[in-house]
Symmetry: C2
Subunit: 169 residues, 2 copies
């Protein structure tokens, strides 16, 4: 059965620990209601072999936790991001690098403005949303999720081209 | 046959008059080569009944020309945009309003950060790209185009909800 789904934001703040550790009760004071952020994170947590992130700005702590958990499980994580924003306050890029995640960024003028994700090279998530708490909790944003082979392969090609273009070596 | 296509940017500057007036030779000094901007504009020009734009920033002159041409042909054009950016230099929102295009914008805090388009409510174009010359000619950007009914209907619903939410009356 094919995957086609659209997520809309903003969502209210609620706890996402249950997505990372399903079945483990959480005692934190946040509400434990489901949202489109949970749906996004559950898609990410489906990754078994590879996760490619091509994200303009990445500062969301729950999304960073999901990515670091996948990395610790042996999923190959590769991140492409924008050079101007990776050094700003709250960016998670430093923490990902410190954990051993491969990160590359644009060198030239012009923004690396993509916001797409590839899961096991079989699912793409793309849209308007950067991985920031403001986007998730305040902005009007959309993410489209599909496993259509034609669409996914276009994004796989773009990722690999940028990965090579941004090779610092 | 179903539509599924991904456009990638940046593209080199080239003349787009041929999309607006097919078959009419253009004598301007720009190159007359095809690009993903032309592919985007050809999709827009397919609109026969309605065009809904839900775009964070809209300053691109060729895209404004396409929208104004559709409006003049009797296509119902509705625009949702972000209040902070509609008044900035180069914004096309004033020109669209002056021509009689219906425009609404967010009232609250948080950005109206969507960048999606509905064509005859049967095709959706969504992704990272704002309708600015910087995005088109300088940034890494993507737009996904699909006529999948499940996906399109999710965006139609979102547009109508925001259209009502942003009713100034
Ligand atoms: Zn909790
Ligand atoms: Zn020309």
């Amino acid at each position: 059965k094919s995957v086609k789904e659209v997520l809309f934001f903003p969502v209210s703040l609620s706890c996402t620990e249950g997505v990372l550790n399903p079945g483990v009760p959480c005692l934190c004071p946040l509400p434990h209601t489901d949202s489109d952020l949970h749906r996004l994170m559950r898609r990410l947590m489906e990754a078994r072999r590879s996760l490619e992130l091509c994200i303009f700005t990445f500062s969301s702590p729950p999304l960073a936790r999901a990515v670091l958990l996948l990395h610790s499980r042996g999923v190959r994580v590769r991140v492409i991001t924008d050079s101007d924003y990776m050094a700003t306050v709250g960016s998670q890029i430093g923490a990902l690098r410190k954990a051993g995640v491969e990160v590359r960024h644009n060198q030239s003028s012009g923004l690396m403005h993509h916001k797409f994700v590839l899961i096991d090279k079989t699912l793409v998530i793309t849209g308007s949303m950067n991985w920031t708490m403001q986007a998730i909790q305040t902005n009007k944003e959309n993410l489209l999720i599909t496993d259509d082979k034609v669409l996914v392969s276009a994004y796989v090609k773009e990722f690999e081209e940028l990965w090579n273009e941004y090779d610092p070596a």
